[in-house]
Amino acid sequence: MTNFRNHLYFLFMGALALIILPYFISSRFYIDVLTLIFFTAYLGQSWNILGGYAGQFSFGGVMFFGTGAYVSSILLTTFGFPPIFGIFLAILGGAFLGLIVGYMSFRSGLRGSYFALITLAFAELLRVLANSVEFTGGGVGLFLTYAPGLSNLQFETPVGFYYFALILMFISIAIVYWLERSRFGAQLVAIRENEDAAEALGINTLKCKIYAIMIMGAMGGAAGTFYAQKYLYLDPPIAYSIHLSVEMLLVTIVGGMGTIFGPLVGAFVLHTVNEIARHFIDTPGLSLIVYGLILIVIIGYLPNGLIGAFKKKEKKSDSTSLDKKTSREDP
């Protein structure tokens, strides 16, 4: 019990530190980097729910982001609908997309690599559609007007977006925290560990997986609105780029799949690596090469990510955590 109290104390201090941090940092650059880290951690967490906890690896996570971004942006540019409400419709849009994709994929029994590939195809499909249709602005894209204000979810200074992203990240952590202690979370993990056994024990695996992807979709949708309001421009390659899909899964895997703080740790590490690499050689592509190497090294040697490796060092005590233990392949 004292272990738990310690954890809670550290969590609280950590959160507090993040909240007051902007008062100590005057550099715009670092505020932006941190904002991006929180944003990536938030998206990674959405992937974590479906991938880390439920064990269904998606390669198309960007589709929820892009769709959410388009929903709130089109509502804004066409109807003047304020993004502060638009973001909720983006969330709904993302969840709805998750429902469709999830239903079609899981109902057909797609698992593992096949599921990963079909999510890729869905994202690509949406990219082509967005590129060919008028109301998304087609290939030209959508330009959003600069008009800072809360109803527009736009802020004059980077600090505003810092807190926006921080709030999103806190929410994502809260969601996973609840997940770990709930029946739903236990059911997802059961599905991940052994789907047939889960089914035999009364878990409606189809329903659970669909719920998981809907949550992922909802979260992605909000991220889309955030992005649109920060960068004020959206086009199909941005909205549906595979790079974001990869980054989502990368930060989670590096940090630790199926853990609460995996995505955050992963986001910190990867963005730090990025900045260091850029400092030495500012050629595009270098940091991503390093990302790829890190992914391979982690999968090969630290499949439970950094948090997993750290946990193994600690004594195996009364843990209620639901991350996947490294288990050798069954004969």
Binding site: F57, F59, M104, S105, S108, L110, G112, S113, Y114, A116, L117, I118, L120, A121, F122, E124, L125, V128, L129, N131, S132, G138, G139, I242, V246, L249, I253, T283, P284, G285, L286, L288, I289, Y291, G292, L293, L295, I296, I299, G300, P303, E329
Partner: protein
Amino acid sequence: MISASLSMLPAAIINGLMYGAIYALVALGLTLIYGVLHIINFAHGAMLMLALYAAFFLFHLFNIDPYVSILIVTPCAGIFGYMIYRYGIGPLAKGKDQNILLITLGLSIIIENGALFFFSGDQQTVNLSYGFEAFDLGFMYLSYPKVISFFAALLMCAVLWAAMSLTDMGRAIRAVAKERQGARLVGINVERIFAVTFGIGIACLGAAGCMMLPIFYVDPYTGNIFVLVAFTIVVLGGMGSVVGALVGGFIIGITESVGGLLLGESLGQIGISLIFILILIFRPTGLFGSKV
């Protein structure tokens, strides 16, 4: 507008067939790798891009015609593939399906960005002396390179098919594909067969890259385009089916071409992802695949 489109239909179909042969070769490598190793090589597109670059540099630095480069790049690609599996993928993946998917994903990221880093993001093409000469078919012109590529690809497929059916190695590979444990029991070194098969799969890419360069272009992102195309063909034709890869290649080539004609440049691309999704949902074993 429609009548103008329809009159170009035969040309679109022929064009699709031409590209289809090369697509088939690309898919052949992928389906071979899946059929034997049961892994999905996500880096297939990136490796095709490397082959394209290899052919490009051989042309620009040493003036070697891409079609001649086939003789150089193919075996090099094969060895490269063998090494990558033997010393990289094989040991790291430890046999878990999702691990391999992620490792090949990591590989594709490294290769794609390595290309970006070293070669810059510019599109590169080659201009062959005979590149603009063409056969006049009456209703369309068919450029020399397209025709050469078409036959080269078919030839390559035939060679591969013959190798698989007639050589000892080919028999060993088919044995491992059919029954892994049984093959092990008869003394076949399964791990080595895996590496060899992977090498052959990449060798196909080496050849395909050389054939593709004269009629296409290359930049670091070319690989991405072909990932989904290759997977769609393999899924359409049936994972592990050689005939399926061929038929699938032609179908996709034609779909892409006709789709572009009827739906326009942008929307035409939709055909491929749609086919992929529909097949996976309604007929995951594809046209010629066996039930898993």
